[in-house]
Amino acid sequence: MTIILSICVAVTFAVSIYLMTGRELKSIAMGVFLLGHAANLSIIAMSRTPVRHEPQLLKGAPILTEAFDAARPMSSIVDPLPQALILTAIVIGFAVMAFLLSLLVLTSRKAGTLNVEQLAAEAMQGA
């Protein structure tokens, strides 16, 4: 399972870099969005899930039905820490995305173009 996830991380990361180095701001925005997925997948891979081979979803989710005392082994649940980190990351990623998209709209209105090269040239002229 980890190996599948690693491949997913590699592919999404590569594509997002490809998009972000492009010249259209729209592509760059999508690249940033995809990068968020890639990073989150990379973190969730660290929780070393005890994936059941039968479809028993949420069997080892970090939700307690009884006290998690010393008697219970850690391997009975997945590591909760990556999940907490990703939850924060999802929310912040969305906030950044929304701000980026509104900047996109504003840029296109003010400058009339979303081409990075043209924008940079204009900025240089302005400076």
Partner: protein
């Protein structure tokens, strides 16, 4: 001693600033009242400190008695405790005493200039407080703190003339130079505390002094470096070569500031620090090796440049540099042993000696500039116009020349003896040092002889240069304020100088009395101060040298040699550095900062790949294929993985923007599925919600954007592909290796065990929640979540402010038209 002593000394430190600021509440016209209140500050400091010293005595240097600690920031080893030992107590009295005289002088100097006095008293009080703090603080970091405050307040004082760009530049020069030294000092103090044991280390001067050499391992390179850093701080503050350029530059300040900063306070802070460090670091070989050459070069450089100046304030500024070099050199020589004891005597007298003649010289220079001129060539026969001022200046000048009858003479003898005695340790180098001291003395005598002949109007004095006109800037600041003041207040412009210079003659003519005052403060006063006569009764080499210096100095002063005004080449150091930082830095900045997003990404990724390759080379373990479980058994995982990869790959290929958004959405929903497989229901729910909003948002936004194709898609396609693939593979591999590293989730386990019920480690208290992820978010990492909410709110505010709902903001042009229309109507 009780805690109340700490509070008293804190009051003693804060009084000048507090009362200086209090003058702001008095009416601007009440000059006399404001002067009195401002005067009360340093006087209160003086009285409190004197009372403290009288009540508790001056502690022995080996067992310094600091006042009890009042905790302020114990974690940073920064608490309130004060040490009024001989050195600190003496400096405290000196600073507050001269500070009081300067308040009076400022009243005479600024005359009836209400606005200037309104601004001056609080600033001066602030500076006095900072200075008192340096000399009385027991915690080393407290000294550093006040040290920085003197940099800031002296910046305000030097750049007093806010409209004069030149003065502001010189104030910046002083600020940056001394501020840089302050940073080095802080580094030195931190390093010292760390080297002596970190949290349990030595953070107080009193501990450092009483621990002595026992706890301080002078062979430890950390100790050596902390000493060098601290010395750098002292050298910049005390204007040691080649950092002395800021001191003459600081003459842009009004004369009360120059008189205060350059006689007793700012520049003496470095000497004070050296004196503080002396008992601790003198055992280092570096001590004498570094400080003696530094001080000696400064001494000669300052004296020779001083001889070639015309502006009185510049002359005295360079003699100050010279004297500071001498004081440093004295401490440097002090570490050399002479017949088994330290080669230093009456060091506090040396420091007091300089303050007692240099402050009057500046005071009278300002007074003469006020009434006549500050250019020595314009002052021929000034005694006929202002006899009292000229006599005061000549009395102080005689002390500058170290003439017999002043304490300066004995001080000079002590210094020459120290050089003479150093021959035991440094061999023939003592002759070079003696020659350097002689050159300095010759210059000082020559300056006095010139002052004497010029001011008295005798033949041989300085004559106005033929092509005069280049020196108009020498007129003093206060000069432009109209007619001179009359009445008793006007005499304040010279009386403080006379009061100080008389102390010189007390020391010179009645050394017994001087000894009574200063011996309790001195830690190196084995023998009583001899009278000047004593030296003549028992002539030795140092006396011959002084006499020869006086003869040669008089000859040089009368001769037509070296009468021009030269530009100190060190004045170029700071402008050159400034140019390098601003212009050179600007060029480097423009080279790196292209303003193009892709270039930044490439920089970041190349740095990442470089670090990646380097770590692979360092740790070959990272290259080994980890033991992974069978990859493709679990069909849902494989399917989701295939969808994620396929949608990602399709993204750059598809052209239609709507299809692109749909693809992005399906990628996101597959990630939701992946979270479910990884037993993360919270993540799946959150991601699902945000994915839906994101897709809607994308569709809405894309509708607002022009549907342009990427015009030059083909360009740079291959390097983008290569860079993306390399980074992707690197991150993927990193993920695989990290996930399979076999590290136990220790932190995760701790969170799991404490999320509902606690253990003994937490006194049985737990988070009280069954959903561990939620407990982590709102409890264990609550601040993290607070930050997250803040980011979300800021983003929401940002979006909201970008799109005004009601009325579009007028563009600049429309706005100007509106204004113009309004004006027309």
């Amino acid at each position: 001693m009780t805690t109340s002593e700490t509070i008293w000394l804190l009051l003693c430190i804060l009084a000048p600033a507090a009362l200086g600021c209090a003058t702001l509440w008095l009416p601007k016209r009440a000059i006399a009242a404001r002067t009195l209140i401002a005067l009360l500050g340093p006087v209160a400091s003086f009285v409190i400190l004197a009372q403290h010293l009288a009540a508790h005595g001056v502690s022995a240097p080996e067992a310094p008695a600091a006042t009890p600690v009042i905790e302020w920031i114990p974690v940073l080893h920064l608490n309130l405790s004060f040490l009024a030992d001989g050195l600190g107590g003496f400096f405290g009295l000196l600073v507050s005493g001269i500070g009081a005289l300067i308040v009076l002088y400022a009243r005479g100097y600024f005359g009836r200039d209400e606005a200037a006095l309104f601004r001056f008293f609080p600033t001066l009080g602030f500076f006095t407080t900072a200075m008192m703090g340096i000399v009385l603080a027991d915690y080393m970091l407290l000294t550093v703190l006040f040290w920085e405050l003197t940099s800031i307040s002296s910046f305000l004082l030097i750049g007093w003339d806010r409209d004069d760009r030149h003065a502001v530049k010189l104030a910046m020069q002083a600020f940056f130079t001394t501020g840089l030294g302050g940073m080095f000092l802080m580094g030195g103090v931190l390093m010292f505390g760390y080297a002596t044991g970190g949290d349990g280390g030595l953070w107080r001067w009193s501990e450092v002094l009483s621990a002595g050499a026992g706890r301080i391992d002078v062979s430890d390179p950390l100790i050596v470096w902390s000493f060098i850093l601290m010395l750098f701080g002292a050298a910049t503050k005390s204007a040691q070569w080649p950092f002395h350029y800021w001191l003459p530059g600081a003459m842009a300040a009004p004369t009360p500031v120059s008189a205060f900063l350059h006689s007793a306070t700012m520049v003496k802070a470095g000497v004070f620090l050296t004196g503080r460090m002396f008992p601790v670091f003198a055992a280092l070989e570096w001590w004498s090796d570094l400080i003696i050459p530094l001080g000696a070069i400064t001494m000669v450089a300052g004296a020779t440049i001083a001889l070639n100046q015309h502006d009185l304030k510049r002359i005295f500024a360079y003699t100050t540099v010279s004297q500071l070099g001498l004081l440093m050199c004295m401490y440097g020589l002090g570490s050399l042993e002479y017949h088994g004891h330290a080669n230093i005597e009456w060091d506090i007298t040396q420091i007091a000696n300089h303050a007692f003649y240099k402050a009057p010289l500046f005071i009278i220079a300002g007074a003469l500039g006020h009434y006549i001129s500050r250019d020595i060539t314009q002052l021929g026969g000034a005694i006929r116009k202002r006899p009292a001022m000229v006599i005061t200046m000549l009395l102080a000048g005689y002390a500058l020349a170290a003439g017999p009858g002043t304490i300066s003479f004995q001080a000079k003898e002590f210094f020459l003896y120290a050089i003479y005695h150093a021959q035991e340790s440094i061999g023939p180098w003592w002759m070079l040092l003696m020659a350097m001291a002689a050159v300095t003395a010759v210059c000082n005598v020559a300056i006095f002889v010139r002052l004497l002949t010029t001011l008295m109007g005798w033949p041989g004095g300085m004559k106005p240069a033929a092509a005069h006109g280049a020196h108009d800037e020498h007129d003093d600041h206060a000069h432009g304020h109209g007619e001179h003041e009359h009445g008793p207040w006007a005499h304040l412009i010279w009386i403080p100088g006379l009061a100080l210079v008389l102390l010189q003659y007390v020391g010179g003519l009645a050394p017994g009395l001087w000894g009574q005052w200063f011996a309790p403060l001195e830690s190196h006063a084995a023998e009583a101060i001899p009278t000047a006569l004593h030296a003549f009764m028992h002539p030795t080499l140092p006396l011959y040298v002084s006499l020869a210096c006086m003869a040669i100095g008089a000859a040089v002063g009368l001769s037509p040699l070296m009468r021009g005004a030269i530009v100190d080449m060190h004045d170029r150091i700071y402008p050159a550095m400034y140019w390098l930082a601003v212009t050179g830095g600007g060029r480097a900045f423009r080279t790196v900062q292209t303003g193009r997003f892709r270039h930044y990404i490439i920089f970041v990724l190349l740095a990442f790949l470089g670090a990646y390759v380097a770590s692979m080379a360092l740790d070959p373990e990272m290259l080994r294929w980890p033991a992974v479980e069978s990859a493709f058994e679990f069909i849902p995982g494989v399917l989701l993985g295939v969808i994620i990869c396929a949608t990602a790959i399709l993204m750059p290929i598809v052209q239609s923007r709507v299809v692109r958004v749909i693809i992005l959405g399906s990628c996101g929903f597959s990630v939701v599925g992946m979270y479910l497989l990884y037993q993360a229901p919270d993540l799946a729910l959150t991601q699902l919600m945000f994915e839906i909003i994101s897709v809607i948002l994308f569709v809405l936004v894309l509708r607002l954007l022009p549907d342009t194709k990427e015009t030059d898609r083909a360009s740079g396609r291959w390097w983008r592909f290569t860079l993306g693939t390399l980074t992707g593979v690197a991150i993927g591999w990193l993920t695989l290796v990290a996930a399979q590293s076999g590290a136990e989730p220790k932190l995760g386990e701790w969170f799991a065990r404490h999320s509902y019920t606690g253990t003994e480690a937490t006194d049985g208290r737990g988070g009280g929640g069954r959903n561990i992820v939620n407990v982590i978010l709102v409890d264990f990492r609550g601040f993290d979540t607070l930050g997250e909410i803040t980011v979300l709110s800021i983003a929401a505010l940002g979006v909201f402010s970008l799109f005004p709902r009601r009325k579009p903001m007028p563009t600049q042009l429309e706005f100007e038209e509106q204004i113009a229309g309004g004006a027309a109507r």
